[in-house]
């Protein structure tokens, strides 16, 4: 009896904290989203779905994530491959790549906004050497979102690199040796051995990266304020403005719950696409075999 209870008791503090700080706020938000003037209603959703701004924000959010998530994962993976080599000085590069993550988002945003500044920013000064006219960057509706993608990737890649690097290091060296004996080239080894063996790590990075980018709005708040012309206005920033600038908690709750649904849906797709099907199939087969055995 004691042994049976022990695991649950050990899990209880974490479970309680999750309930208080995660599940309770989510439940309250969902409840708020369905209440209009004290009655259960879909009014908040009707209002939000009727707004052009909401659809524009949704478009921006999806566009931002569709580009940022794969880009960050590819860059992080390439960086992880580089720093996983057992060559002299790899540790220094690992640290250098990781440093941007240690910089606060506010500082990073300020630094990049100075670099991207229209008047006298270092990037425009550099471009002028080649006779390229000054670019609007954060002030141009066609460029602002991509400037934020650059900023976020600069800051985030080092962090995701650490997980991928741990995954690479976790692969048994005998697998590499076997590939080498078989005469596989480095790209072939990476493609046919490293990537398939890191599916679980990729799944984690993919889900965690999508969640963090879906909820990101600090650069939009600090530099562009969602502009120019809503081109960087992501759903999370719109929700923030609703709650803290317009004191419209119901609209905020409706937007946040839609965001939550999208996030859950994307995560499920990612689980399905990147999940360990072989392991699952093996488990199923084992169960079937066991059942047959019992029947026999």
């Amino acid at each position: 009896m004691k042994n049976k209870c022990a695991p649950y008791l050990l899990l209880l503090p974490a479970f309680l904290l999750i309930c208080i700080f995660k599940i309770y706020p989510v439940a309250t938000t969902l409840q708020q989203a369905f209440i209009v003037d004290g009655h259960l209603s879909l009014g908040n959703y009707q209002r939000v779905f009727a707004e052009k701004t909401f659809w524009k924000c949704l478009e921006v959010t999806l566009k931002f994530n569709i580009v940022t998530v794969p880009l960050q994962i590819v860059i992080s993976f390439l960086m992880a491959l580089l720093v996983s080599n057992n060559i002299k000085g790899a540790g220094i590069f690992r640290t250098i790549y990781y440093i941007p993550f240690a910089v606060s988002i506010t500082v990073a945003v300020m630094v990049w906004s100075l670099m991207f500044q229209y008047n006298g920013g270092i990037i425009n000064s550099f471009l002028s050497i080649f006779g390229i006219p000054a670019q609007g960057f954060f002030n141009d509706k066609k460029q602002a979102l991509w400037c934020i993608v650059v900023l976020c990737s600069w800051k985030g890649c080092g962090y995701w690199m650490m997980f991928l690097m741990a995954g690479i290091k976790n692969i048994d060296s005998s697998v590499y040796e076997a590939a080498k004996i078989d005469g596989a080239s480095y790209p072939r080894t990476v493609w046919s051995i490293v990537i398939p063996l890191m599916k679980r790590v990729f799944l984690f990075v993919c889900v965690a990266n999508t969640s963090s980018n879906m909820l990101l709005f600090a650069p939009m708040q600090l530099v562009t304020e969602g502009g120019p012309r809503n081109s960087t206005n992501v759903l999370m920033y719109e929700a923030y403005k609703s709650a803290f600038r317009y004191a419209d908690m119901a609209r905020c709750a409706a937007i946040v719950s839609v965001l939550l649904l999208i996030l859950v849906a994307i995560s499920l797709v990612q689980f399905f696409a990147l999940g360990d099907h072989d392991a699952r199939d093996a488990k199923k087969a084992a169960k079937k075999a066991a059942r047959r055995g019992v029947i026999a």
């Binding site: 209002r47 009727a50 707004e51 052009k52 701004t53 500044q117 229209y118 008047n119 006298g120 920013g121 609007g136 960057f137 954060f138 002030n139 141009d140 509706k141 304020e225 969602g226 502009g227 120019p228 012309r229 403005k241 709650a243 803290f244 600038r245 317009y246 004191a247 419209d248 609209r251």
Partner: protein
């Protein structure tokens, strides 16, 4: 029995001593949500108040935007953490409507209110009750860098002799700035700006352009921009401003918080700014400046409109020390001693009648203050009267910002009308 009686006496004595000690300990401390930019001056004011009354007032400072958000979040959700808040005048009705401010009517006598401008009292009154009291007023002045303009060979007398009845036009200012830039920074490598607005991209200062062409702030319902933005006044003002940016006379990409620094560091020729700027010039050791009244558009000399209205103090509806908080608000805004001291410290246009009269009559009153007094009495144009002022300012700020960034003016106007319509739906239902 005797023992019991003496024990009871001792207990009573101890009880009395404890309650006396706790009564002595109970000292009222008021907390203000305040602007970080005003910290130095407000600190001196609360120290002075402590010396006079023994009531301690603590400042909790925020940047402009954060302060507005904090008020929305904390006071809007009934927090008792604050007693007094700084209220931007267009937000008084919005806060009062949502029950965030305490009624100050019982604390202000008719004599008190007679010392404040009636426009300010009206703006801080909601459904017949007074919810805030003005701490200062604001008016706009055009400052110019005399050193740079002289270097560019500009004859300053035209600017220095400009008066409210004989204003320099916006077109002429643009011409002077353009010519001066050709001399001072022909290839734009020094990053000198011709002219700009201290609060660039913000509704407060930018709207003076359409207002000076006869444009309105918002329609009479307060919830629509249709028939307001899609008018000649607004289109002309936005197009003119966009041309100024395209020509490199006005800046692009510099924020309102950065722009005054360009003036202090000789990178800006003309700057429309609030009347208290000279206090900052002294701090930054910038001594080569002069000022003139806000320009007008050619052919619209009689339509000059200058932004007005500034900060008020209100008492939180959730304050546990409403009487003490109201007393501080009254002292700060409605006594000659405090208003004079605050003017001395901050240099903002005061609202207290006797002080204002004194300044207007005094020959030694600085030029910027004389201009501000005249503008506040003759060309002051109130901000949009709408309970949806937060939504209004977000949309109009975006209009100015997008126009500055080269977006099509007509499309921007169309977008803004639709956006404001959507944002204010919640008020209409």
């Amino acid at each position: 029995m005797k023992k019991l009686l003496s024990l009871a006496l001792v207990v009573m004595m101890l009880f009395g001593a404890v309650s006396f000690a706790s009564a002595e300990k109970e000292e009222v401390t008021l907390v203000i949500i305040s602007q970080a930019a005003w910290n130095d001056q407000m600190t001196e004011m609360v120290d002075l108040y402590y010396q006079e009354t023994g009531v301690r007032v603590v400042l909790e400072n925020y940047s402009f935007n954060d302060m507005l958000n904090t008020i929305e979040v904390k006071i809007g959700t009934g927090s008792e953490d604050y007693d007094i808040l700084m209220v931007d005048i267009p937000l008084v009705s919005s806060y009062a409507r949502r029950g965030m401010l305490a009624d100050l009517t019982p604390y202000f006598t008719e004599e008190d209110l007679a010392m404040l401008p009636s426009a300010a009292v009206t703006a801080s009154t909601y459904e017949g009750k007074l919810y805030a009291s003005p701490i200062c007023n604001s008016s706009q002045v055009m400052y110019f860098n005399t050193m740079l303009l002289e270097q560019a060979g500009v004859d300053l007398s035209e600017l220095q002799n400009a008066t409210a009845d004989n204003r320099v036009t916006w077109e002429r200012v643009a011409e002077i700035a353009e010519n001066a830039l050709q001399v001072l920074d022909p290839d734009h490598s020094l990053g000198i700006i011709g002219m700009d607005f201290q609060q660039v991209d913000r509704v407060y200062q930018m709207n003076q352009l359409p207002n000076s062409l006869g444009g309105l702030q918002v329609d009479e319902t307060g919830f629509s921009l249709d028939g307001v933005l899609n008018t000649d006044a607004w289109k002309t003002a936005l197009t003119w401003y966009q041309d100024m940016v395209k020509k490199g006379i006005c800046s692009r990409g510099i924020t309102a918080s950065e722009l005054p620094n360009y003036f202090y560091s000789d990178k800006l020729l003309f700057m429309i700014a609030t009347n208290e700027m000279p206090a900052n010039f002294v701090k930054k050791e910038m001594d080569h400046w002069d000022c003139m009244p806000s320009p007008c558009f050619e052919g619209y000399e009689d339509k000059v409109a200058t932004p007005t209205g500034s900060w008020h103090l209100g008492v939180s509806a959730y304050s546990k020390h409403e009487d003490e908080a109201a007393a501080f608000v009254k002292w700060m805004t409605c006594t000659e001693e405090a208003t004079e001291k605050f003017y001395e410290l901050r240099g903002m246009l005061p609202v207290y009648a006797t002080l204002l009269e004194k300044l207007a009559a005094d020959e030694n009153t600085p030029k910027n203050m004389k201009i501000a007094i005249s503008e506040s009495q003759n060309t002051a144009y109130p901000r949009a009267l709408t309970p949806a002022f937060n939504e209004y300012s977000s949309v109009i700020n975006a209009v100015w910002s997008d126009t500055r960034n080269g977006e099509d003016v007509d499309e921007t106007i169309e977008w803004a009308i639709e956006e404001f319509e959507a944002q204010t739906l919640k008020y209409k239902n």
